[in-house]
């Protein structure tokens, strides 16, 4: 089995998730080669062939051309699978490669199960094993699901890739920095977060009151921020802040992977949810099965005493 691993590079830096691709290939027992649209000054630590295209020329986000570059490497290596991280780069590019090769794609693999790939369904309430039916397949792996066992090592043998034309339907304009952080949740010892289960904006102060009773900060899940109930600077998760408080209290939060990625390193996790099966229960030290708007005020009153 041979895997072509597609590394990631953004704002002039190699992204660490690139090493998860190698960890995945190792778990699969596959030989691998890597492709990176990046630069000579940021080579991955990797023993093997590295197909390298220059990001200065082919852009960091230029899916039409990156697809052509991947197809060139596929032509040379004839891999059984082409592996991406399930990220804003990977989920954008992978299906384009899959269509060009008419290969089946399995998205956001979280584990391997006797040769089949395991993926989540229905907010991780179900798991599926998926098997590709095409000879060659495209795979994307969940960020964080396959972590390298040690420090990455090795020296790649670069092989340059060039395209003859550089036409592209998409013109990349540039990056916009993340919003200024109004609160730095990363230093908070206690975070009490509001999720969609709090019901409405008017209920948010009830959650904030518990946060202050515990001497902590208010956090939030994404829908609460998107709805404008809480400012973005309070958002916890992949597209918000990553936190590691001593105590994290999730109020009416289901526990989607993108939220968990931001708070699973908390020392102690309490979840308040009316749904006993909510996926947050998988990582919570204590799951209180209750209506947040009944439980939280009662608990705050007790803390205040």
């Amino acid at each position: 089995m041979k895997a072509l691993l597609i590394g990631e590079y953004r704002q002039g830096k190699l992204l660490d998730t690139t090493y998860e691709l190698k960890a995945f290939a190792d778990r699969l027992g596959a030989d691998s080669v890597m492709l990176l649209v990046g630069s000579d000054s940021e080579l991955p630590k990797y023993d093997g062939t590295l197909y390298l295209a220059d990001a200065a020329k082919y852009g960091e986000y230029n899916p039409d051309q990156h697809k052509q570059l991947v197809l060139q490497a596929v032509e040379k290596e004839n891999p059984d699978c082409i592996v991406f991280v399930h990220s804003s780069y990977g989920w954008d590019l992978a299906p384009r490669v899959a269509v060009a090769l008419k290969a089946g794609q399995v998205s956001e693999i979280v584990a391997l199960n006797e040769g089949a790939y395991e993926v989540n369904a229905c907010n991780a309430k179900l798991r599926r094993t998926v098997t590709p039916k095409s000879g060659r397949c495209v795979l994307t792996i969940q960020a964080g699901a396959f972590t390298p066992s040690g420090e990455p090592q090795g020296t790649p043998q670069p092989e340059r890739l060039e395209l003859s034309g550089t036409a592209s339907a998409i013109e990349f304009v540039g990056y916009e920095a993340a919003e200024q952080k109004g609160v730095d949740l990363s230093k908070a010892e206690v975070i009490v977060s509001a999720g969609r289960g709090v019901g409405k904006k008017d209920n948010v102060p009830v959650i904030a009151a518990l946060a202050s009773a515990l001497g902590g900060e208010l956090g939030a899940s994404r829908p609460v921020v998107d709805a404008g109930w809480v400012d973005h600077s309070h958002q916890v998760g992949t597209t918000g802040q990553t936190v590691s408080p001593k105590l994290y209290v999730a109020c009416g939060i289901s526990g989607a992977i993108q939220h968990l990625a931001g708070m699973k390193k908390a020392d102690f996790i309490v979840a308040i949810n009316k749904d006993k099966d909510a996926p947050i229960g998988e990582i919570a030290d204590v799951l209180v099965v209750a209506d947040v708007m009944q439980f939280v005020p009662a608990f705050t009153a007790k803390c205040a005493r």
Partner: protein, 258 residues
Amino acid sequence: MKILVCIKQVPDMESRFRPNGEKTWYDESDLAFRMNEYDEYAVEQAVQLKEQLGGEPEITVLSIGPERTVEAIKKALAMGGDRAVHIRDDRYYQKDPWQIASMIASYAKGEGFDLIFTGMQSQDRGSAQVGVIVAELLGVSCATTLVGFSYDGGTITVKRELEGGIKGVAKLKLPALVTCQLGLNTPRYPTLPNIMKAKKKEIASLTAAELTGEAELTATAAIYPPAKKGGGLVLEGEIGAQVDRLMGILKEKTAVLR
């Protein structure tokens, strides 16, 4: 301008899910269905563009699924879609993203849509593939994960959401397909008059068989609840007792309550 919006109907994620008899899908009895959350942003963006252009564009809403799917279609029409196509497929759940996208592309091919909106992913399956595959099959340009969208004279400027809150800005010429991320806009609630008006809008019906003979490229071997990794303590029962138990636990296990 002709706009297409693809929507999927999915179960409410707060439901309890059980695998079906064949262990290839979830048992649909007792589930409540709704429009995929990401697709609400897609519909809203299409309607906002129509408003921006003085009502000129025609918005077609498309959904593949069984009879119940019509409910989601009606909601999209009440939000401002003009007409709809329901591709009836009772075995939709046995189709992989490639087949679903092939059906959509085969319908869209002769229609000359200038702009297609889809969700970035579905809530139940979440493979984040259908939109991009449709774009590739139609040969139109495509950008994913939009949290910003603007249109000006045949060009769209999009803001893609990247990890850690960074955004990538890009320009695309029409025809194009974009996939919508949560937070792109604020999806409207259909008003009663608009719900009434939507009842008169056309919903054309096609069958899956008319559109594609493509075979699947991936298959679900099995579907099952994830193994419980232990999980923690579950406190059920009366509120007062829960409060006392949690208080005791926090005093014992954390340094934050003394």
